[in-house]
Subunit: 217 residues, 2 copies
């Protein structure tokens, strides 16, 4: 559907690779001015093109942001996967490492993360986006399945579902509070932003929920 002609010299069009440059510009703008500070015209300006040029690569402003979110979700999934593997065979360790990876990704990629969880700023129907989002969610779900000794295909028990939600909520909430600056007050005088991830985060994850059911129901 794109250009299956000659991938050898793909850049030599008119401008080069405007699409990628627009994505890069968008991420930079969000980083500097926040998600709400993003404007399509500014992205075009930074790429050196007219305000109408992006329309040839993205349906509209939401389209560009959708592409940014998509790439974010892919990397996010990779980070969670890496954390999961780091946890080895112990479900508890897998969950802990995933939690660390979850929050660390959020703090290391504030622009993307804030966009990714801002429904309305992008189209969930953008090609590939729903898949990437569900993949990330599935990584956590699989670890919960393992923790409760439930085969991957089967549905979770109510309690296991509550456990999943609690775990998800705690890491998501922590990331959200940290990015929102809600924790800055407590972190003041204790090392600031660094203290949040190095001190507060481990201390918080120590209180991650524990599965209420041994491996055998």
């Amino acid at each position: 559907m794109k250009s299956p002609k000659k991938p050898t010299k793909k850049r030599a069009y008119h401008h080069g690779d405007l699409k990628d440059q627009l994505v890069a510009a968008a991420e930079a703008i969000i980083l500097e001015r926040g998600v709400d500070g993003f404007t399509l015209r500014e992205a075009a300006r930074r790429a050196g093109v007219s305000p109408a040029a992006p329309a040839h690569h993205f349906k509209d402003a939401k389209g560009l942001l959708s592409e940014v979110a998509l790439r974010g979700f892919k990397d996010f999934g990779d980070a969670l996967d890496a954390g999961d593997k780091r946890g080895g065979v112990d479900p508890q360790a897998r969950l802990r490492e995933q939690g660390m990876a979850y929050v660390k990704f959020a703090l290391a990629n504030p622009a993307r993360f804030q966009l990714m969880f801002r429904a309305g700023k992008f189209d969930y129907a953008y090609p590939g986006l729903a898949d990437a989002g569900m993949r990330a969610q599935g990584i956590l779900a699989r670890a919960v399945h393992a923790a409760y000794g439930i085969p991957d295909g089967e549905p979770l028990t109510p309690d296991a579902n509550g456990f999943l939600l609690a775990t998800w909520s705690i890491v998501h909430g922590f990331a959200h509070l940290a990015l929102g600056g809600e924790l800055d007050g407590s972190a003041q005088g204790k090392g600031g932003k660094r203290a949040i991830v190095e001190s507060f985060l481990p201390l918080t994850l120590q209180h991650l929920p524990v599965p209420k059911v041994p491996r055998k129901p």
Copy 2:
């Protein structure tokens, strides 16, 4: 066109109570179109005044939203307080009830809640806002102090602080995920929105962290 208003004791100026009507309009708009869908002009339009009229009551658009957030934080604090009292003398029960109140408020007041935790949409320096925000935070902190047997004035131990953050994160994260529609997938076929608060929430709060220190030495 001139609607008969009830000025009661206050003077019925030109329009009446434009300030309150602007606040009401703002809340309605946020409810209908989301926080990002709010525009100052639309609020003025609904109040039946020109786009420049709000400037006489609020410094700018952020000023109006600050007033909305302020009223939200006040009610939020009241809700948390009520939950705390509902918990009686048992710190665990107090925390559980506060958690329920926290999420229920968010789901019952989605417009306000989403605004309240959207730094950048309002001025934190708006008169009374910081106080109202800290009051709400303090309610949770006091229950944690009680759970760990630490006098109210003294600082929390590192573990107690982690416990506070974990508790806050879990309810905040749940509210955020629920409002973002992130839970709709799982809730489908199980009762939708109602299932979230009636089924998922209690199940999740069952996994609230437990203080790692016995209350009395």
